[in-house]
Every structure is written in structure tokens, then in C-alpha cells.
């Protein structure tokens, strides 16, 4: 019985890891596209989006089959339940990377460096990607401290997001070389990066449940600050 459930859970973990790595790569390609305005990576992102969807379906089915046929309990049950939800959140992050690529495909020109600076777009990318990578590392190493730090890091994305409307309005008022529609598209990219941070936090909550069976969803941040960190 042990070998059966263990091999099943290990297989799920491997699939989740592959999906996670793909999402990390997708987000990096989206960033490259934004920085350089080079559209060569866009077809690859679009193609890989289909792989992300396929991973989501496979993980859904594998988790359902594990619950139905293997009757997991304790840490195995927590993993399968968490994997189902992490899967959903990763797929959404994949959608954002794909969405950013589609926006960049639409833009006729690269985003000027001055606009990148004003919007803190690269910092937002860096923060969102760091969170995604650290959540992955936390999952791989079951590191509770890394999970805790994610809640702090996300505050940066929230701050950028709060300022985003005013920044974008300022850029439009300054009569930029970009069309108003293009500037508004940049606002959309900023919103997608902020949402990426939110989805990584959802993943972090699932990791806490997987590690310690604690439910911190919908709790206030001060509770998250006092996670049972070892």
C-alpha cells in the first residue's frame, strides 16, 4: 500500500514541478518580450500556453484519480488537495504570461525605456518572478520561512499597483510617443503582474496547508505574519 500511494504522490509532484518550471519560463519569456519588444518569443509563449492547459487538465485528472482510487490521508491527502489548488493558480499565472505576450504582439513598437522606468514595470516583473521562484523553492524544500517571506514581498507589488493609475494618467498627460491605447495596455500588464503576486500568495496558503495543515486563507496579514515557522 505504501509503495502504491507513494509512487502516486511522487508522480503528482513531478508533474506539478514540470508545470511550475514551465510557468516560470513563460513569465521570463514574457518579460524578455516586454524589455526588448522582440516578438520572436511570442509564438513560443502561445504554443507553451497550450502545454500549460494540458498540464492543468492532466493534474486535475491525476488528483481526482488519486483521491478516488488511493484514498490518501494525512500528509498525502493534504498534498493532493493542495496540488489541485496550486495547479489552478499556476494555470492562471500562465494565462497572465500569455496575456502579456498578446499585448506585446499588438503593440507596434517597443515600450520606451522612460515608460518602463516610470511604470516600475521591470521591478514589478522582478518581484512577481521572484515570488514565483521562491514559492517553487519553498515547495521543493518544504521551507516555511520562504513561504512567510512571500507575504512581505507581495506588499511591493501592491504598492506599485496602487500607484499605477496615477502613473499611467501622468504618462498620457505628458503626450508620450505611444498611443493612449498602448499606454493603457501597459496598465493592463501592470495589473496582470499584480494579480500574479496574488496567485502566488494563494499558492503560499496551499503550501502552509500542505506542510502544517493550517488554514490561513482569508485570515488577516497579522495572522500570516505569525505562521508556525520552524
Amino acid at each position: 500500500m505504501a509503495a502504491l500511494i507513494e509512487s502516486n504522490v511522487n508522480h503528482l509532484k513531478e508533474t506539478l514541478v514540470h508545470m511550475w518550471q514551465l510557468i516560470i519560463a513563460q513569465m521570463e519569456k514574457a518579460r524578455q518580450t516586454v524589455i526588448t519588444g522582440d516578438k520572436n518569443l511570442i509564438p513560443e509563449i502561445k504554443f507553451n500556453e497550450k502545454r500549460v492547459d494540458a498540464f492543468e487538465l492532466k493534474l486535475d485528472m491525476d488528483c481526482e484519480n488519486t483521491l478516488m482510487l488511493k484514498n490518501p490521508v494525512a500528509v498525502d491527502l493534504r498534498f493532493v488537495v493542495s496540488a489541485l489548488k496550486i495547479n489552478y493558480n499556476l494555470e492562471r499565472i500562465g494565462d497572465y504570461a500569455h496575456g502579456i505576450a498578446k499585448i506585446m504582439d499588438k503593440l507596434n513598437t517597443a515600450i520606451p525605456e522612460s515608460v518602463l522606468e516610470q511604470t516600475h514595470l521591470l521591478e514589478m516583473f522582478y518581484t512577481a518572478q521572484t515570488m514565483l521562484q521562491e514559492a517553487y523553492d519553498a515547495f521543493e524544500t518544504m521551507d516555511r520561512n520562504k513561504v512567510k517571506s512571500l507575504f512581505e514581498t507581495d506588499k511591493k507589488l501592491d504598492r506599485y499597483d496602487k500607484e499605477s493609475n496615477a502613473i499611467i494618467a501622468g504618462i498620457i498627460d505628458g503626450k508620450p510617443s505611444l498611443s493612449t491605447e498602448s499606454v493603457l495596455d501597459i496598465l493592463l500588464i501592470m495589473k496582470k503582474l499584480e494579480r500574479t503576486g496574488d496567485h502566488v500568495l494563494n499558492i503560499a496558503e496551499e503550501l502552509v496547508f500542505y506542510f502544517d495543515a493550517d488554514t490561513i486563507k482569508h485570515s488577516k496579514l497579522d495572522k500570516k505574519d505569525s505562521l508556525p515557522i520552524i
Partner: protein, 250 residues
Amino acid sequence: MIQAEAKNINVWYGGFHALKNISMNFNPNTVTAFIGPSGCGKSTFLRLFNRMNDLIPNFRLEGEILLNGQNIYDKGVRLDEIRKQAGMVFQKPNPFPKSIYDNVAYGLRVNGNNNKTELDGIVENALRQAALWDEVKDVLKKSAMELSGGQQQRLCIARALAVQPQLILMDEPASALDPISTARVEELMLELKKNYTIIIVTHNLQQAGRISDYTAFFYLGELVEYNATEKIFLNPEKERTQNYITGRFG
């Protein structure tokens, strides 16, 4: 409402130390499941509550089993009184080769009750509580041996209920039953706990999860962990419990 308690229980079969310093309280109107590998002592412990081990050669007990504050192993305690308080249902249905009616009335008659009207009422009530009345009300004189396995087990439960115990002990009561009969017995247990306190030994972890409020994990004669069932199956405190329920033992 019965208060059942075990205090500092140690049991030996000759030189074999079968139960090691176990203390437990059982909450009224709950189902408590005992789980653990074969030979871990869970059935031995269950059987202490109506003194079923007394006749086993070389059996020796230290500690106290308290039902409503009384140690049932005290000198002068009447065995028939204890067994009226704590009814037992076994792994395999064991109806007597008598009619359905006589099976249920058996314990009452043994205790001297031969009042037909009274017996009729108690038999009907016990069969209703065991969710068997509708199936057998027209064939009460039929031999119990003609019932299906699931019906026989519910008959044995009715027989245990007829003497109005407060504590029901069940030793793998569904392990010999098909899934439909198992489901009926499990539903019955959930219904019965409204009026009784139930302790069940089971090897079926899913069954323990489905029906019990509390679960106790035994290993090598020790009580390793005793906690709310949700806690045991979601996040057990002891590594040995986790290893057992996830199948990673040994």
C-alpha cells in the same frame, strides 16, 4: 448517559505484555474507533469493557475499567449486570439457531423477563433501532439463520440493544459484510450514537473516518495517539500514526 473510562491499564497473557499503561476517556454519544495493525491489542482492550477476556488462560489485568465511576473488575460486581451495560457485536454475525424473535428476546429472558406483552414491545423497539423491523416484522418466527449476512449482523445489534445497554462494543462488525450491508450498519451506528456510546475496532481506515468522532491508534500494546478523527486523518501528531494510516509502516 454512560461515562466509560480506562485507567492505567496493563494486560498480560502469561509473560506477554499485551497492553501497556493505557488510560482513556470515552465521551458519551460518540463513536470511537480503535485502529492499528493485527496483534496491537485493540480487540483485547475493547473486550475489557465487558470482561470478555476473563476466561482466557493466563490473562492478567492491572488498572481499572470504570463504567459510570464503578470499576467493573471490583470484587462483587455481577458479570450479567456489566453485560447489560455494555453490549457486544462481533466480527461475524452470530445469531442463535432460534427464531428472529427469540434471538432478540434472549437476553431479557435470561434476565428473568418472560412477560409476553413487554417482550413484544422491547423486541419491536430493538429491531426498529437496528433498522431491521420493516424487513422482518412479518416473519418474526422465521429462523434467524435464514437471514442474509447483513440482516444477521443487524439482528445481533438488535439483540445487544434489547437489554438496553449504554455502551456498545463492536469488534470489526462489518468486515464480513458486502458494501451495501456495511453501509447499512454504518448508517445504523450514526443513528445509534444519539442514544448510546459506541466503541468499534476496525481495520478499515475509511470506515473509521466515515463513522467515528474519535480515533485511537494502537501499536504493540501502546496507545500511540487518541484524538478527534479529523485530526488523526488530516494531521496526526505522532509520526507512527502518520506512517500507519498512510501505509508507510515498517
